[in-house]
């Protein structure tokens, strides 16, 4: 049985807990150093199927400002984040937009919506 120890930093919150994970045959069996349960969950995901939130901006037509900030409603597979950001460059929405409105549904077929992270009034 192959056992290895991996050290990584949790990215869930600014505490950035330093985690030590024990990995046996590709399965995370133990995590220490986390102040909260999210740290253990993070280590398990990060070492098997890492995910990230995506934040970016898209163009808005007829709004008070030219851009509106957006965020993925859930975490995306880490390896697809850059592709998603590229896809957002051709997206544009019409004002008014409200916080939480979907600006790109089911991006790249990943099952995650990209939503507005603020209101944008029309002018």
């Amino acid at each position: 049985m192959a056992t290895e120890t991996k050290v990584l930093n949790c990215i869930n919150c600014p505490l950035s807990c330093e985690l030590t994970a024990t990995v046996e045959d590709g399965v995370v069996t133990n995590v220490t150093g986390n102040f909260c349960p999210r740290g253990a969950q993070y280590a398990k995901e990060e070492l098997t199927a890492p995910t990230r939130m995506l934040t970016s901006t898209v163009r808005v037509k007829g709004g008070r400002l030219p851009l509106i900030p957006v965020v993925s409603a859930k975490k995306l597979p880490k390896g697809r984040v850059v592709e998603c950001a590229e896809a957002l460059r051709s997206v544009s929405v019409a004002a008014p937009v409200h916080v939480g409105d979907v600006v790109a549904a089911n991006i790249l077929g990943l099952g995650v919506d990209i939503v507005a992270s603020r209101d944008m009034e029309a002018v």
Partner: protein, 422 residues
């Protein structure tokens, strides 16, 4: 506009908006927030990344999302008026506020109390004296962030970032997501000044090299930046001859620190602290001038907006109380001084009366420490409070709460220190 306000708040960012809400909740009837930008929300509007609000709103928000929350909580309150596009020119000791806006011209406003929440601004190339030519393409990271996230422009394609503070790290990822190539992040200190989570998700995720103990010794280019010369520095931050190398780039972003924006405070003659560069405040966030309060980055640069909001709640509450004539009555004025390994502590003193409440102390350490650490608060040579810590970094503010019972019993000056071992 000649009426008398209970509380006038200078700055409509997260600190100002939260102070307005807190003042309203504590009985103030006429509250005015003055914001110089085109909309409320402050710098958060351009911080489109997430990670805000975990403490204060108990959920993870983006910067604009956090600003929206703060604004939504006050926008429909009849007691709160917000003026945008309004620049405050002067605050006087009698709480007269002179401001100007394109639609209203010059205004002279009167408050019973004033809360200063002007935030901070970035240090520039001039502040760190980088030699070389003066081509286009050198921006502060925050200016570039506003261009990319709010105005819709890309400042350049091939980028070198000087300084590993959080804004620099966040911009490294942001530029990468917009298809730019971030060549390197350089940090003059032997440690990063940003949160570890940002090193992981902003640099490591995008394979961006971080060169610690390195700085830019020359910027090249005539009309536009063409590259930089980088050198390793010694323990006194002096470039080491012979270690220079070149990096090709068209843009240099500077993330080299923030300065509390205190022209108005200095104009008022407030007592300032040399290390925080902000006004000296007591636990109510009252400055050296009675009835003038301050909170957020104008007092000391925070790393978490959540703590800015916490501080603004305090300032707004006591500004309202002062306006309603319910403040004061401080019998003891105790200094809070910094001991071993602590660089700054806010508040710098406690003014305690008959009524006491728990007091939160915000501290920054002088250097990174890890292991068995003990944060200690002493009063009159005796330990009154302690907290074990495992890790302390200059980039991460430490907050501890002195319980009400302990605060009530204090009679002499306090010293806070962080010691290794027991």
């Amino acid at each position: 506009m000649s009426e008398l306000y209970d509380v006038i708040i200078v700055g409509g960012g997260p600190a100002g908006l939260t102070a307005a809400l807190s003042a309203q909740q504590n009985g103030a009837k006429k509250i005015l927030v003055l914001e110089r930008d085109r909309e409320p929300g402050g710098i958060l509007q351009q911080c489109v990344h997430n990670g805000f609000g975990l403490h204060h709103f108990k959920e993870e928000l983006t910067g604009p999302g956090y600003a929206q929350r703060c604004y939504d909580l006050v926008k429909d309150l009849p007691e709160v008026e917000i003026l945008v596009d309004t620049m405050v020119l002067e605050v006087r000791k009698d709480k007269t506020v002179r401001a100007v806006s394109p639609t209203r011209g010059v205004m002279e406003l009167h408050g019973k109390s004033v809360v200063l929440t002007m935030g901070c601004r970035e240090r520039t190339r001039g502040a760190i004296r980088i030699p070389g030519t003066r081509p286009a393409g050198v921006y502060t990271a925050g200016a570039a962030q506003r261009m990319v996230n709010m105005e819709g422009y890309i400042p350049g394609r091939k980028i070198v970032i000087l300084g590993s503070g959080d804004i620099g790290l966040i911009m490294a990822r942001r530029m990468s997501l917009e298809g730019c190539k971030v060549q390197a992040v350089l940090e003059i200190c032997p440690f990063s000044n940003g949160l570890t989570r940002n090193i992981v998700q902003c640099l490591n995720d995008y394979d961006i090299p971080l060169h610690l103990s390195h700085t830019i010794v020359a910027i090249h280019g005539k009309d536009r930046v063409t590259g930089v010369t980088v050198a390793k520095v010694d323990e006194k931050s002096r470039p080491i001859p012979g270690t220079e190398f070149e990096i090709d780039c068209d843009t240099v972003l500077l993330s080299v620190g923030l300065i509390p924006e205190n022209e108005l405070s200095r104009g008022l003659g407030l007592q300032m602290h040399p290390l925080t560069s902000g006004p000296i405040v007591d636990q109510r966030r009252e400055t050296s001038e009675p009835g003038i309060f301050a909170a957020g980055n104008v007092v000391h640069v925070h790393d978490l907006v959540d703590f800015v909001s916490d501080e603004a709640e305090i300032a707004g509450k006591f500004a309202a109380k002062a306006a309603l004539g319910a403040g004061g009555g401080a019998a003891r004025d105790l200094a809070v001084t910094t001991g071993e390994n602590i660089r700054t502590c806010v508040p710098q003193h406690l003014r305690l009366g008959a009524e006491t409440e728990s007091v939160r102390l915000f501290m920054r350490v002088t250097q990174p420490l890890r292991g068995k650490l003990k944060l200690k608060v002493e009063s009159g040579g005796e330990e009154v409070f302690s907290k074990p810590l495992m890790i302390a970094k200059p980039s991460e503010m430490i907050a501890v709460d002195l319980p009400e019972a302990k605060v009530g019993a204090l009679t002499s000056d306090l010293t806070v220190s962080l010691t290794e071992g027991n």
